[in-house]
Symmetry: C2
Subunit: 306 residues, 2 copies
């Protein structure tokens, strides 16, 4: 029986979950109704179109997370500072009344200030992390690969610290618009080239240089044939993921205490990160499916909505 | 009196020099006839159109450098390995006979293998470096900022080692196509934001992270207002230049012995790099104008063409 409706509403897509009273996901809907595609900012109309038939007269609680609480979203909410977990997010839930009088609840995002004084932010991933942590570890290291990959340290279900890397966006830009894209004869996955790219990304800056050097190094290795045209796409993917992992391990402090890294991502990215993290000697676990729904359930419970 | 004609023929532009017997530049022509724009690969026709009226019956030697010797150019020539200088480039000059029987001479590029085993290449910059070194230092550190910035260590007029950084290309891509570009309210130069960006680029990886982290860090600082929208363009420029300088100093080995860095670039880039290198505590010198022409003259002399 339905107990809760959860929406993970991002920039370019939306996932809606119909959740049972034991937390099980009864039904999932995915659509391209990301916040940037909503006509006239009429989020309420999109909301009814996507999940209207799930809303019964008995009024299940509804909980929404993701970029829907950003400046470009339905309602802009301030970030909650780390450390924070399900309890803190529940305390910061924002209740909003729809035109039909029904109440819905927005989960806001998290912010953190790094040891270098630079801030970082997330909206949506906090709910997935809380959902994944509900399953498991007392202390954990979680990666959510993507356009802007997030790495988080968790403890007792709280996000203690996190950092974001522009890996996916840079890969798309370089593949599409740069001299490296012009090297690429194929977008097919080439495992050997991917592994070679990760190994290049993994090297220390002395003497390999940082990313600016290694991007041109990729070009030069293409000229001499050590990165073949058919493998250039996979090599660049490996290089950027390798650089991300090296950066993450450097800026998140001592990560040697963690027995494994939990990956929360698409199947394709999960497979790539499993290989790449293995090259760094790190064990991996694949996070639960529908981590966002698990997060919605945990936060709703902590807020006393269930 | 004209003694030598020199062409620095690059990917997107061409500069031609009419050079006197003491090495002075009598006349310069700049055009957009880069190698990628030459119709039907008829380089000889473009050559005659640009400098045909300089070629007299008395037949001055002609020397060409740049991407014109790449796979996409007039004649593809193998790289000369570092260390190499004017003598080595003169020995590798490639003589080519035009349809009218006249001989012209191509300068090829340089390659080097870094301490990490990764190759690097240049075509065109070697001639500028030789030209700048003809003016000066016994030992030097030279930067040629641009789409693909080059850093070179020179000694006794030879290029001992060099490294390339994809700074300018990445800046253009990110400004045009990324989430950082969408932050930018203006492309006007903002000196304070530029200096702030260099300072961010200069920090060590622990705990600031590498470039992937700092690109998102730029976005997050924009969200919190510490990088204002009007300064975001200059901040990103500073960040990338700061990262380039940090990388270059890390991968070129011990650069502390160099009293200054010589900059060979456009006025705009020279001004930016002067400020940025100053933030690293490095003194700078502006390289000679027409360094390519000086290089053509030095190489032609070493080859006995003059």
């Amino acid at each position: 029986m339905t107990t809760l409706i959860g929406l993970d509403w991002g920039t370019s897509s939306l996932r809606a979950y119909r959740i049972a009273d034991d937390g099980a996901v009864l039904e999932t809907r995915a659509s391209n109704d990301g916040i940037l595609t909503v006509a006239n900012n009429d989020f309420e109309a999109t909301f009814h179109r996507v999940v209207g038939d799930w809303l019964s007269a008995t009024s299940h609680p509804v909980i929404l997370s993701g970029m829907i609480t950003s400046r470009q979203g339905w309602i802009e909410l301030p970030y909650v500072s780390c450390p924070a977990g399900g309890e803190g997010l529940a305390a910061a839930l924002h209740c909003h009344t729809l035109n039909d009088g029904r109440s819905i609840h927005f989960v806001t995002g998290l912010s953190v200030v790094g040891a270098d004084g630079v801030p970082d932010v997330m909206r949506g991933e906090e709910t997935q992390i809380v959902g994944a942590a509900a399953d498991g570890d007392e202390r954990g290291l979680v990666v959510l690969p993507g356009t802007h990959s997030k790495w988080a340290l968790t403890e007792g279900g709280q996000v203690m610290h996190f950092a974001t890397f522009m890996t996916g966006e840079l890969f798309a830009l370089l593949s599409k618009h740069s001299i490296l894209g012009r090297m690429m004869a194929s977008e097919d996955h080439d495992e050997a080239a991917f592994v070679q790219g990760v190994a290049y990304g993994r090297r220390s800056d002395k003497p390999a240089g940082g990313l600016l050097k290694r991007l041109f190094g990729t070009r030069a290795q293409g000229l001499f044939g050590s990165v073949p045209a058919n493998g250039a796409h996979a090599f660049l993917s490996g290089l950027l993921i390798g650089c991300e992992i090296r950066e993450a391990l450097a800026c998140l402090g001592d990560t040697s205490a963690f027995a494994h890294v939990t990956i929360l991502g698409t199947q394709e990215l999960t497979a790539l990160y499993t290989v790449a993290l293995g090259q760094f000697g790190l064990e991996t676990r694949v996070g639960p499916d529908d981590a966002a729904a698990k997060g919605h359930y945990a936060i709703a419970k902590a807020a006393g909505l269930l």
